[in-house]
Amino acid sequence: MTNEELNAIAKAEQESKERFEHEVCVCTAAGCLSAGGDKVKDALTGEIARQGKDKKCSVKGVGCLGLCAKGPLVAVESHGKKDKLYEGVTLEDVPAIVQTLEATETKGAAAAGLERSMDEPFFASQVKVVLENMGKIDPEHIEDYIAVGGYQTLYKALTEMSPTDVIGEVTKSGLRGRGGGGYPTGLKWSTVAKANGGATKYVICNADEGDPGAFMDRSVLEGDPHRVIEGMAIAAYAIGAHQGFIYVRAEYPLAIKTLKNAIRQAEKMGLLGKNICGTTFSFELHLRLGAGAFVTGEETALIASVEGRRGMPRPRPPYPAERGLWDCPTLINNVETFANIPAVIREGGVWFAAIGTEKSKGTKVFALAGSIVNTGLIEVPMGTRLRDIIFDIGGGIPEGRRYKAVQTGGPSGGCIPEQFLNMPVDYESLQQVGSIMGSGGMIVMDETSCMVDVARYFMEFCMSESCGKCTPCRVGTAQMYDILCKITEGHATLEDMDMLIELSDLVKNTSLCGLGQSAPNPVLSTLRYFKDEYMAHIVDKTCPAGVCKICSPAKEPVEVKS
């Protein structure tokens, strides 16, 4: 595969696209699929043929179009016209949409009722880097990715840049780990690159998106898998690895299928495997399936799992960069980190560093869920205000309810109350208010959610997901869960609350890995901002949100400590 061949494929693909006046893109990512996206796609294909428009219109399945709540989504790209987006498309709407394709005037057209304006903040306020091809290309079709310039960056890196140049660009870009830790990617790469020269090295993509409420990685893998593969290949070249693994959750069957297919196609085209693009560089990529353990998102536990063992962490140092998979230097990055790489190398580190804030560069993909009008997938520059994300892009809280908190960072994160809505979202600001960036899940809650119950939910999660290797986490999370249950049942005393705070401190500071160290975060952050709710449960024996079934409405005498 040479650059000429890549260009030829891209050109042929573009020409075949030019032949059609309209391209109908149906979202077939998991969200829209469960709303019947695949059936809509088949119906559209059939209807276009029935109306004799198959010479002018093509239909394809694409990755996530972002507005998951309103699926199935259909986007139409027409020559010389603005793109259109139809939401909530049912089989009955198909004929109307096909008729509208040819209509010169959209006002009053048959399908006008389903149209969603692309000028809304949800679309207009986003800056797409990782998701630039999302909803435009068919993930099952490698030529589509090549047509939008895919794999040219890999070619450029292999033929025009030295591994040091590549790492230099990544360092310049200021990209930080998108798995949530925020460790500078360039620094990590150069550490692995410098690790003892002769050893075998590995690249691992952490696609074990275990945080409940996060679905960014899944969408990227299902909608633009080649982007991640290309990013991994560039990383392998930069650090001197010839083997890579993608560790995906078994809960994502569609992502697994898409990836398997993508790897096969890339191998067939000589973009993976031996002597890539006619250079001396070889890179083999394998898929490894997770089996449903949250702790395997922690890098040392993930390595144990790739080796076919129980996913249990081990103390660090030595970090995987020195001794990782089978004791060899290993680079582990998250899906979104790798997905940023093609853009960084293509446009240059300086371009990337111009987006975002001083310490957090680039964009971040967030998964908006919970009590919010526009649930779905968004990408915004780092430093975007929380208020803009939730109220402009997200469309605010449905049914006129009041915002109470947004939960970021999953079970390791915290809740952010109303007074911080004007805060810019970046790694440092989130940490300052007791939460973390995490992988990018944002779950919005309104007054119908009880914060103590939410804390209990996350503690139950951490307790059952604790691998059991270290005592503070294994025992501590169980004790904390018991206390939280007592509080939500209305049996707790103020001493229990003191014990809860003491345990939080202990578990946080003495656990072996990130799971235990961050397990108390949801408790600490709700205690910090919603202490009145805890007090209501403990002292008044009521649940202000009406969620908890307080068993003993009779007030017991409470001794107030001085």
Binding site: G210, G213, E251, G370, G410, C467
Partner: protein, 165 residues
């Protein structure tokens, strides 16, 4: 080490798939999780015979194979019912009422996640997060993801399976 490979527990053709996975991975111990995935995909669950066969083939102690099979939530050592219903209990689904769905199932069919109805018709499972948070609450009925659910709708679907309507 030149050991003869153990024979599969039965004549069942599905063991060939399991052997295929092990062969593709060169019978290396690190293929354990991949192989258990294949076993579960082929048979629906992992029984003792399968564990013995896989551990002997990959030359890992049976204790380790058992340890791995029990460590990961995805693996099950019990046969599954005719139909499976996986209720998502991720954060978004939780705050939108996944618990009410589980409670309704318990009241109606007397099963909690991980259990199967006495007649072997329906297995109930829960998932940590299916990543379809935009459609919360979500469940998977025999592999088909359905979103925006509520307790009555879930119960109705399960009743159809149990066939007492």
């Amino acid at each position: 080490m030149n050991l003869t490979k153990p024979a599969p527990p039965s004549e069942d053709k599905r063991w060939r798939l399991v052997e295929g996975t092990m062969r593709r991975n060169g019978y290396e111990p690190h293929a354990l999780i991949e192989t258990l995935h294949t076993v579960q995909e082929s048979f629906g669950y992992i029984d003792e015979d399968a564990l013995k066969f896989v551990s002997a083939s990959l030359q890992v102690p049976l204790a380790r194979a058992y340890g791995v099979a029990t460590f990961y939530h995805f693996f099950t050592l019990k046969p599954q019912g005719e139909h499976t219903c996986v209720v998502c209990t991720g954060t978004a689904c939780y705050i939108k009422g996944a618990n009410a769905i589980l409670e309704a199932i318990k009241n109606e069919f007397g099963i909690t996640p991980g259990e199967t109805t006495d007649d072997g018709k329906v297995s109930l499972l829960s998932a940590r997060c299916l990543g379809s948070c935009g459609l919360a609450p979500v469940a998977v009925f025999d592999g088909e993801i359905v979103g925006n659910l509520d307790a009555p709708r879930v119960i109705e679907r399960l009743r159809r399976w149990v066939g007492n309507d």
